[in-house]
């Protein structure tokens, strides 16, 4: 069976570069024999998380908001690899990507356990996807690069990802450099 790759494109409507990177990811993943799905989150109707915890204690595993946020959560947990593609915003994710991730907490159980000495939520599923973080910076910024990597590594712990890899691109890179880096991060994530 072909491995499923989900690319969550967190670019805003006007962010042509992020969308272009998303399409490159899909092309390269297909070339490696994978089955990719690209979701442009700016085009999906995803309401913000209400912080109500109903997905844990009223409708277990299911968000009470019936919109595209549910479908994204389902696709995340049913994929083999999920790519968080986002412009780097103060070292973190764009609101477009984050609104989808905030709605993914039904994928976890409310119960706690200790993982490497820290408290985290227990798995709801036996399978969770690998994570690949691909951040796009407007220019070279060591602090934001380091923060973006730290963030996705934290996410990997909380989302029980069996593997995590991170890549960073700059809007100032030429196309060839950019494609080479995308290829590299994809290879890391899929290997």
């Amino acid at each position: 069976m072909e491995k499923e790759i989900l690319v969550l494109d967190g670019g805003a409507k006007s962010d042509a570069l992020t969308h272009q990177v998303g399409e490159t990811l899909v092309r390269l993943a297909k070339g490696r024999g994978f089955s990719p799905t690209l979701l442009r989150l700016d085009e999906l109707d995803i309401a913000p998380c209400l912080g109500c915890f109903s997905c844990w204690i009223k409708t277990p595993g299911l968000c009470v908001i019936d919109d595209a946020g549910r479908d994204v959560a389902r696709r995340i947990v049913q994929s083999d690899v999920v790519v968080f593609l986002s412009p780097v915003v103060f070292g973190g994710y764009s609101p477009e990507l984050k609104k989808a991730l905030d709605r993914a907490i039904p994928l976890l159980s409310p119960f706690f356990r200790r993982i490497k000495g820290e408290v985290h939520h227990v798995k709801r599923y036996t399978h969770y996807p690998r994570l690949v973080g691909l951040g796009i910076l407007s220019g070279h910024d060591e602090v934001e690069e380091e923060l973006f990597e730290a963030l996705i590594r934290r996410n990997a712990i909380n989302l029980h990802a069996p593997k995590v890899s991170v890549g960073l691109l700059s809007a100032r890179d030429d196309e060839e450099t950019r494609d080479r880096r995308i290829e590299w991060v994809l290879a890391e994530g899929l290997s």
């Binding site: 049913q78 915003v89 070292g91 609101p95 984050k98 408290v119 599923y125 963030l151």
Partner: protein, 215 residues
């Protein structure tokens, strides 16, 4: 002249129903007693409309200090709070001002370790720098932002630092940094709480349901 504090609440539950709002109000109430004026904005509401966003940007322009209070969502801020910070940074870049308001953050998370807010605090610090605020410090709380006597004392020191226009003292971090409970106890207590609520909601038997299991 009366100094002005702007409280930005980044919880979907808003200023009155969220722990973030309650924590922020501990500081704004204290400052009001010292003669400050205050305004509170719910970021989720503000970013929904043009008018709300304009009101937010104008309020930031008027503030001597911005107090940001939010819950930790997936190791970072809730999406509408990120959107609001983006708008503020864009606005301040477009209309550079000589005024550099101070910025202080209060983050709370549902885990016992306050340190789980660290990455998010650094994101906020980065925002403050990019948007031309003077970062004076951040408070990180675990255990859902529960306020104990020690935490209340730390908030007293925070208010004093804001009023005296100094950096948040290291003692505040020392007082808030330590988890309120050993993690083993927190796990046991937290799990009992979830079970109790699920039983009350008559869903305990299916609390581990996995509706999106792969076919």
């Amino acid at each position: 002249m009366t100094e002005h504090v702007l409280l930005l609440v980044g919880s979907p539950k808003g200023p009155d129903r969220s722990q973030s709002g309650r924590l922020g109000r501990i500081v704004t109430d204290d400052l009001e007693q010292r003669g400050w004026s205050s305004k509170t904005i719910h970021l989720h509401e503000a970013v929904q409309t043009r008018e709300g966003t304009d009101d937010l940007l104008q309020a930031v322009d008027r503030a001597d200090i911005v107090l940001f209070a939010a819950p930790l969502y997936v190791d970072s801020l809730p999406a509408p709070a990120i959107r609001a910070l983006q708008r503020i940074a864009e606005d301040r870049a477009a209309q550079p001002s000589t005024k550099v308001p101070r910025f202080v953050s209060i983050m709370n998370c549902g885990f016992v370790e306050p340190a789980q807010n660290d990455t998010c605090q650094r994101i906020l610090q980065q925002f403050a720098q990019k948007a031309c605020f003077e970062w004076i410090g951040g408070i990180s709380l675990g255990s859902g932002g529960r306020v104990t006597r020690r935490i209340r004392q730390a908030f007293g020191l925070l208010s004093e630092a804001v009023h005296e226009e100094i950096l948040v003292p290291e003692a505040v971090e020392t007082m808030t940094r330590k988890p309120l409970l050993p993690s083993r106890i927190y796990v046991i207590g937290g799990n009992l709480m979830w079970k109790r609520i699920a039983r009350k909601n008559e869903v305990l038997g299916r609390i581990r349901t996995a509706p999106y299991r792969r076919p």
